[in-house]
Amino acid sequence: MTVSTVEAAPRRQSPRRAPGGLLDPRMLWKSLPDAVRKLDPRTLWRNPVMFIVEIGSVFTTVLAIGRPSVFAWVITVWLWLTVVFANLAEAVAEGRGKAQADTLRQAKRDTLARRLPAWPDTAGEETVPAPQLERDDVVVVEAGQIIPGDGDVIEGIASVDESAITGESAPVIRESGGDRSAVTGGTRVLSDRIVVRITQRPGQSFIDRMIALVEGASRQKTPNEIALNILLAALTIIFLLSVATLQPLAIYSKAANPAAADDATLTAHGMTGIVLVSLLICLIPTTIGALLSAIGIAGMDRLVQRNVLAMSGRAVEAAGDVNTLLLDKTGTITLGNRQAAEFLPVDGVTPLELADAAQLSSLADETPEGRSVVVLAKTRHNLREREAALMRTATFVPFTAQTRMSGVDLATDGPEATRRIRKGAAAAVMKWVRDHGGHPTDQVGGIVDAVSASGGTPLVVAEHVDGRSARALGVIHLKDVVKAGMRARFDEMRRMGIRTVMITGDNPLTAQAIATEAGVDDFLAEATPEDKLALIRREQAGGRLVAMTGDGTNDAPALAQADVGVAMNTGTSAAKEAGNMVDLDSDPTKLIEIVEIGKQLLITRGALTTFSIANDIAKYFAIIPAMFAAVYPSLDTLNVMRLHSSTSAILSAVIFNALVIVALIPLALRGVRYSPAGASAMLRRNLLVYGLGGIVAPFAGIKLIDLLVQSVPGIS
């Protein structure tokens, strides 16, 4: 979050795939004390699966003390390690957030606020500590001072250093009115003076919420996580039942075969407690149970690494479910502005003539469109040098909403009369031509319509020389430039089953053309904030989840209505309040990455659940023959791994069960590999890797551990 963090972790690695942070082995070691602290049953009971493991560990400890043996103690130690490893996963995930929270706290130093109690009267300024500021208090902040709380600028303009929260060192401009009025507590004013109305109560500021979020303190279980927890609890109950009812059957079986000798696993009193607990712990879904909360924390963390703050885990999860993505055209799909793409002369005018006139009329035009006309004339027709004399006589006519055109009047000293050049909206310029005695041909109209139909904006250029009738010279074709790679991105979205809708203020014809070029599925033309809201409601009424970005105050209702509303950090505080995520980079294309992270979070949970359950098959093949082969030698057929002895088999299964948690911590933190694809392809791949892999891996792992532990004295 701070500059240093950003340097350490590259902000955007490959745009194709949601990357994750790497696990530093030192993190494991550093988190160990936290992991041990989490053994406290008062916190552990929230995770029912691991709570059962802890109860089992306590039980075996008691048994091992009462009847010590190498086997009993080794099992006991590994059962405790299972719980510690699970806690470790959570502690490591939280630890990464804590480091970020610490740097954030530095930004939240004790600040003094200069409150103006009588605003708009600036008299009676008083100094109060920032935490005592209430909503609607008005404060003044000057260069070098820290903004004491979240709020809106109500007077003045200032450059603000927001690196404390965005990690971006370049200062940003904040001014009253408009969509750039929001300021964040803890950021520093670099120049000028602003008056800020506080919009947040103390302790609920943006930075407070950020700290709580990255620390995981305010983490609540998300809907899918709750559902998965219910499933895991049900599986745990089933296995508890399966193991508990096994004891009577074991006693019965032992009694039916009095000839079989007692061994470390089964006596006339049934299976030993150690073995029963071992079986239970191996069967209940400890792998996913141990990693579930780490996966959730890491998912939020991945968002934070991309400078996105999600106000709730629910919003992250909803991002994975999004059906419809509303994207603003400008800035997201197209580069900020239209650019001149072509000069189209009419009625015998040469292209050079038109380019020359167009450039002259745009020389004083500071808008990006005007600049692009100058540049095009320069690159196409090599028009760059302008006679100094000519320029001296030039009078520029600025654009107004009434005339809807701009231009230049060139008064020449010589015999030639004044030459007026105008460029602007077709209707306005044509009227100007007619008013000055010209009779434009149909050719102009034809070209204008053609340009409009192709999604471009036509600007008509005309000239009028005193004494002659005005004439149209031709048309400048202004075009929206679609950002590189957007089409591929939208194709990807389509494969993921997400519909993209472009929002634009353009007319439907223009919108249609850009939509086709960019490859979005649909568009909303001439969009007002009300239209946006109505579109979201319509989509939601059809059962679809909608995601959008926005920054202006008039976006706030739509942001609040959308299932995933990403507010730009540059936007107003109303927008930031309404959305459920804030993008500190204010990059509207980030929405696509957010969707990918949401999906990755769910996939990781599903994949590890599958893996965890698939593991049980191999564990049965290890433990069942180990427990009963003494009574029923035929059951040794099931010992397909040819494990050394009953004790080494059970111990190997327990050790594998514990180690697999540690082995999967990096995966839980990073998330499983995700590349956009259709549901079927994704399911096939994940089933192959985590389903089939989950069946096969423990056979190899348990056998390997068995080879090692059979040499331990007292085990075999």
């Binding site: 559902a227 499933l231 049900a234 009812t245 549901a679």
Partner: protein, 552 residues
Amino acid sequence: MGDTTAAILFIATLIAALAVVYRPLGDHLYRVVCSTRHLRAERVIYRLVGVDPGGEQSWSGYARGVLAFSAVSVLFLYAFLRLQNHLWLSLGLPAVDPDGAWNTAVSFVTNTDWQSYSGESTLGHLVQMTGLAVQNFVSAAVGISVAVALVRGFTRSRTDRLGNFWVDLVRVTVRVLLPISAVAALVLIAGGAVQNLSGGTDVHTLTGAVQHVTGGPVASQEAIKVLGTNGGGFYNANSAHPFENPTAWTNWLEVFLLLAIPVSLPRTFGRMAGGDRQGYAIVAAMAVLAVGSIVTINVLQGSHHGTVPTAVGAATEGTESRFGVLDSATFAAATTLTSTGAVNSAHDSYTPLGGGVTILNMLLGEIAPGGTGSGLYGMLILAVFTVFVAGLMVGRTPEYLGKKISAREVKFASLYFLSTPTLVLAGTAVAIVTGWGRAGMLNSGTHGLSEVLYAFASASNNNGSAFAGLTVSGTGYNTALGLCMLLGRFLPIVFVLGLAGSLAAQQPVPASTGTLRTDQPLFVGMLVGVTLVLVALTFLPALALGPLAEGL
């Protein structure tokens, strides 16, 4: 024609015949449950019982209907059994004792048809016809009604109405079960099954002894016994008795009838859900499990395991020579896969692993294809689990037929899934440590354990077949198994209806390419895998000490 060829032909023609009826029978059921018309006979019934056929019920209303109807049925049947000596056609038989009456009443109302009595020497014709046979019809109709209510949960949106239980019950009975049973009974009579009200005749056997052979309304009861996946035989010997199942081709017909409705219901589901392929996916999963089980049990029974079977060429003990070892094995697989529980051979005499497969079939939860209705809802619950895990793996909140599978749905599905394994495992464990439990066992060791496990699997899953060997007529087993039948039937039904209510209230999510496809081979494969893994993980320890230890 060799035995193997005959067995293959038996199975192949069965599959072909089921494939032929899948669409017409499924479509007929669809029209019956979705129709807005009432037959005159049905209107008379509604007026008699005071039901407004137009009024639909919420899930709890529907559940109350099922429970109330079943409670009244149990009480009525109990009274009937206890008072039969005062009624007509009792053939001079005494009243049934209290625990036997309780067990039998529960057994027939829950579509289990577990029989701790011997039919011909315990019950008169009136009780058989108007007590047991009536429950054979309505208990099957209850199962179909509940399944239909669950499907409505998937297909309806933003409503708390799941249909009218009484209308579903009456329609399924009147328009589906009665006509098919009538035709089937006539065909069985043509095949040699008896249908009379005779008190029986004394016959002299070859050895000179006198044997009393009871007659009765057998064919009519036999038809609904198999069609409604009930399984309660008129005679103690059940479908091995020549009056119930006279020839090899009636044997084929009975297997066909007991599979017909459960196999066709996925078609009804697909039609209601607006996608025939959804139905094909469910029936495909059922078929993979069923064919796998039938082939396995045929191979195990025919593969000469053990001394005696090796000497005679197959595991002939306990089988009828009219049907042969292999066709009996197919019958055994079909009857345990469908929660029917009719038997034409003694499963206790099967090879240990063959008998183990019949237990496993029941432990699957009666879903391949399962009982009438209960098979479909059981399979849909497993599909919900599969969708949940698979849905997460494609990166979306899991959804099935457009309905989100979230906490509430997972809760109901989990409760459903916990019900029967709890009853089976707890029941077996209790029986094996108690005096009455062990006293009933014929065999000791692994086989004795298999007998008890079979009994509780059968009762809790509402199958009703018995492993034989176990004496279950005592108070202990009558009470315990009665409880298992009752809870094993109605707990899942309540959870299914709860799930249906939760689904119906939802707004469906439109499908996209990001949605998990539930009508493709990949999903079918995963559904089969999830079913096998969940069942194997739950029951493997118990199975290891029974059939596996004995058979490996």
